[in-house]
Assembly symmetry: C2
């Protein structure tokens, strides 16, 4: 008799948030055997990222949509439990696109697969040293090009990427770092623990007025995770030659008709640039960046927080937290 | 008895296009006498540019709004008729912000004032060698950074700036140049006379479908003069690492509520950049650029066309042509 395992399949494309009709749990498939060059990984932790929601739509993107009936694509961390490749040994911890499931077959030749050195907490691997931390790193440095004396504003600032982006801006020499988040607790965390100069609670405050007050010389770098009205408020307050880093748009991913930034012509008035990027393009520079980031974490210059959700069956609920603002820091599902 | 002169004042802020209530003609002011360091200029030709419409709104911009009751700000070309500065002699032709009026006092210390060498047609000074041509030059080179083999798309392509931008893209090595314009005649002019590879008539054709067909490898550089739905269609067809040059948005300047580009997240998917610029920042590089451009004009590599409107009193009507699409090439008012 062969063991079966659980995996979460996309049953229907969500309208807005993931709900009861979006996902099904399949527990009938047999745990597969690795072929030559492959290993079997027991999935332990899932990285819950806003981009997963975009893959559920039938829309053009940087990766193909998840097909109806397929497993949900997701970054994850797991342990090699069987191997038919010299590159991976039983007991290795690996990071890769493991998916929302208990077991994954991985290919040693897959360039996005990485063996994780022992002794690092899973939540750190997935968070500050993972794709979210790396997104903050390359967004602030390569796209935002934060310089000494800059005023930097980050939206989604209490999220996994935003919280690291603000701290990296400070390390890069920003004179002032302002975070925009969705609760008084999150704002207090940003200022009291992460060292942001100001935090704006977009649910209670007039973001435009507060940006004018906290950024009297204008915004040099705006790191955008949210889109919508907050992006417009930032565009209205740009300094000259500003850089708008397009990281994501969590306010838009659940909308049928996304809205564009009506203040985009401020890019002309202020001679500014709005630029998008994808962390996939920086995989070859991860090791160097992770080393630098690990140093800052150990020195206490980068603080991080994780929001752990217990149980594979709660992955959909965990994803929704990103859009309802229910999380502070990195959302991780413990399989 | 002292001579009086005519000037056009902003009587009311326009809602949409300039109409009968927007402007008044004042013919009661006396022709002024230059003070020390000044010259009196008889205005001969006005440069009619979309940006003038933006100055009529009470909205923040790169220059203050024109105040109600003030003369309309405008670039123009004129002849020095009296001078109290060694820098300007009677008979000199000068370019500067002369305004919609028959006479202007100019200050020799004004950095934007330039003495024009004799022998160049006024329409060329204001067009291909003027602010519009310079906008195309620095937009294509410094912002768009057109490279050998690029696919370049220009909107407002039969306008003064767009028509030159497309030709400069070809000179910079573009493999394919596509223009978007508003009539079959304009499209024929772009392809038959200016050497564009394709022209899309946005009034009759599906711009998105035609962009997909004419740019099979995607758009590397999109030079945008119009905004609105055409900008969205271009964003949906960007190649990887594309550059969107924000030059203007003539579809938006007459709208109360400008719309933003809803496809802006394609900047993330394609790792692309959208950047604005103002030609004011490049004044010190004009001489070098004008020399190069004059060479291309003489070699027949840059073609240009002007739309001359006779009479200062028709300046408002001339401005409206830019938004109704009634012009091909540079609109100039002969005062």
């Amino acid at each position: 008799m062969t063991d079966t395992y659980r995996r979460i399949l996309l049953a229907a494309r969500p309208q807005g948030l993931v709900d009861g009709s979006t996902l099904t749990i399949d527990d009938s498939a047999e745990v597969p055997e690795p072929a030559d060059g492959q290993a079997l990984v027991a999935v332990r932790h899932l990285s819950i990222d806003p981009t997963i929601r975009t893959w559920m739509d039938d829309a053009p993107g940087y990766l193909p949509p998840i097909a109806i009936g397929d497993g949900v694509r997701s970054g994850g961390l797991g342990e090699v439990v069987a191997s038919r490749t010299d590159a991976l040994s039983v007991g290795d911890t690996v990071f890769g696109m493991l998916g929302w499931q208990e077991y994954a077959l991985v290919d040693a030749a897959d360039g996005s697969l990485a063996v994780v050195p022992p002794g690092i907490e899973p939540a750190v691997v997935l968070g500050v040293l993972g794709v979210t931390g790396m997104t903050a790193y390359f967004g602030i440095r390569d796209i935002g090009r934060v310089e000494e004396g800059d005023t930097v504003v980050v939206s989604g600032a209490a999220g996994a990427t935003g919280s690291v982006a603000g701290q990296l801006a400070r390390i890069a020499g920003a004179a002032s770092v302002v975070g925009i988040a969705g609760s008084a607790d999150k704002c207090a965390w940003l200022v009291d623990e992460l060292g942001f100069d100001h935090a704006i609670n977009y649910r209670d405050e007039d973001v435009g007025a507060r940006l004018r007050a906290t950024c009297p010389r204008g915004i040099d770098v705006y790191f955008d995770n949210v889109g919508g009205g907050i992006l417009d408020a930032a565009l209205a307050n740009l300094a000259r030659s500003a850089r708008v880093v397009l990281c994501g748009a969590i306010s838009q991913y659940n909308e049928d008709r996304p809205v564009g930034p009506k203040n985009y012509l401020q890019l002309i008035v202020t001679r500014s640039r709005m630029e998008g990027f994808l962390i996939l393009d920086y995989l070859d520079r991860f090791p160097e960046a992770q080393l630098e980031m690990a140093g800052w974490v150990m020195e206490g210059r980068i603080h991080h927080r994780e929001h752990m959700v217990q149980g594979l069956d709660r992955a959909g609920e965990a994803l929704n937290l990103l859009f309802s603002g229910g999380n502070t820091g990195k959302v991780v599902v413990v399989v």
